[in-house]
């Protein structure tokens, strides 16, 4: 349709303009984090730092608990992701490949919990965590959100398509049910494991509300929580804040660049089809 060079040029112009609006804010934050404090608000403003410096990174990493927040977040994101993948794949397998009473009800109830977002039940959840002694524990952030309706749904939809004959053949060979799951199903589920893992990691890395409910102890906080607290101070040290923000952004960008195709297919599977 767009054979004429004029419309093609227009097409590109619009795209480039819009991508500037999309990217410049991120770029501005990242570049500013490499400016010395004196240059940050100097008039005239510089877009590219005149004196590139790492001093903001050094000072935000050296002072305060930022390394602790970072390692807390890595721990939460990695362990949560492993747990989420494992239990949702298990649940999806049970729902996809076994026939038992109550199966459809269990599936429907699990999916229906989508209707109860955390924002709505944060008060009773807080009390529940309190009575279980999970407040101020990283496990309090890791375990409760590990079972996800979307994860169960995606796993089930994928596993339903695997041929039953493989499972039957393994049973005939005398394999136990858990062996079949770990030795046969798990290796065959790589694409869906990758999709669930990536989305779980991103969500946990970026999550703010769960840590906000569970953690009050300063040394147990995650990066997002620390950033929110930092920005809540009366006098914001923007140089340090921008460096910390950049550090918080880097892992998600890396994951995205490494696993791009899973993102787009995962979104399509989770929203259009699912």
């Amino acid at each position: 349709m767009n054979k004429q060079p004029v419309s093609k040029t227009l097409h590109y112009t619009v795209l480039i303009l819009l991508s500037l609006i999309t990217l410049l804010p991120v770029l501005w934050v990242v570049l500013s984090s490499f400016k010395p404090q004196s240059e940050l608000f100097q008039v005239p403003l510089t877009f590219i730092p005149q004196d590139w410096t790492l001093e903001n990174y050094v000072s935000s990493l050296a002072a305060g608990n930022f390394p602790v927040y970072f390692s807390n977040t890595v721990f939460v994101a990695v362990v949560s992701t492993a747990l989420t993948v494992l239990i949702n794949l298990m649940a999806g397998y049970a729902l996809a490949k076994y026939i038992f009473t109550g199966r459809d009800i269990i599936f429907t109830v699990m999916i229906a919990t989508l209707m109860i977002p955390l924002q709505v039940i944060m008060i009773p959840i807080f009390l529940q965590l309190k009575s279980l002694g999970m407040l101020n524990s990283l496990w309090g952030i890791i375990i409760p959100p590990a079972a996800t309706p979307t994860g169960v749904f995606l796993a089930r939809q994928y596993l339903v398509t695997l041929p039953n004959s493989l499972i039957e053949a393994a049973r005939i060979d005398g394999a136990r049910e858990h062996t079949i799951f770990f030795r046969l199903i798990l290796p065959m589920s790589k694409p869906i494991v990758a999709t669930i893992a990536i989305f779980s990691f991103m969500w946990r890395w970026n999550d703010y509300l769960w840590p906000l409910i569970v953690i009050t102890d300063n040394r147990k906080q995650t990066i997002q929580q620390a950033l929110a607290n930092f920005v809540g101070q009366l006098q914001i040290n923007w140089s340090d804040l921008l460096a910390m923000t950049t550090i918080a952004i880097i892992p998600v960008i890396i994951v995205f660049l490494a696993f791009q195709r899973f993102f787009f297919s995962g979104i399509a599977a989770g929203s259009v089809k699912g």
Partner: protein, 321 residues
Amino acid sequence: MDIGSSTKEEPDPSDRQGCLPFRIPMKRHTKGNFHQTAAPLLFLLPNILIFGTFIIIPAIQGLRMSFTEWGVFTTPVFIGFDNFIELAGDEVFWKTFSNTIVYSFFTVALIMVYALALALLLYKNTIKGEKLFRSLFYIPSLLSMITVGIAWRFILGDEMGIINYLLRAAGGNGVRWLTDSKLAMVSIILVSIWAQAGYYMVVLIAGLQAIPIELYEAAKIDGASAPKTFTSITLPLLRSTLLVVLVLATIASFKAYELISVMTKGGPGYATKFIVQQVYQVAFLEDRMGYASAMSIVLMLIISLFTVLQFKLSGREASHE
């Protein structure tokens, strides 16, 4: 979620070879059956425990709490509908309620227009660099709302923000993006769109690519104009995807919390305070958990309405396939 299609992918009965008696020796068959009954329940156990402990019980508990006066250190007292009656006359709550509605309406409407525009520019696989552009537009969706809020607060600062700097450099005046009570809401809405449009663009591209290309070719042969093709082929066939986007974006906007807490803290005054923040404040800072639970119930009703709508729509979509 597409529960509607769950039945059509049932395993083919003929494939269930375990049922055929000649294949398995009797002894192992009995053993296998026991394992096959216990196994699915064990596989489901962690999820059932977590859903039960951290969603279903709290949901019931929350409903119960909404009929009580309940602080962290006090004994709950049953007070019937008093919380809801008080809520009906609570001006701050209704202010946060209307803020949430206004925010949702404009954010969702503009996200849909913008994301659709991006999707239309990028779905055809005909121009060079299309994949790169898709990835670029998706980048803001990768960032946490906390980091998005920090970035834009840095950009929109009254005195030192770059936008006001540029406005002043061009001879204009600075604008109070986040500290003017009317503009603050506009800024929050625009930033929300910036942050989320890329995600919905991906959803819409998938929807656009699912439209059979033959339809467009037929329209071309019939000499249909581009706008005519858009309104009579693209929009009707994209309808279900647009509805999914509508519902997802609406639910997301009702849950909005992080952006506001970083950018404006709900201010100035109550200008950008939303329901979720009011619930958090009343529950955890004012220690009125029963009253805050009543607010949650109202929020829950609104969100459920839209989720049910999504179930219905995607179910209908599946039966059309």
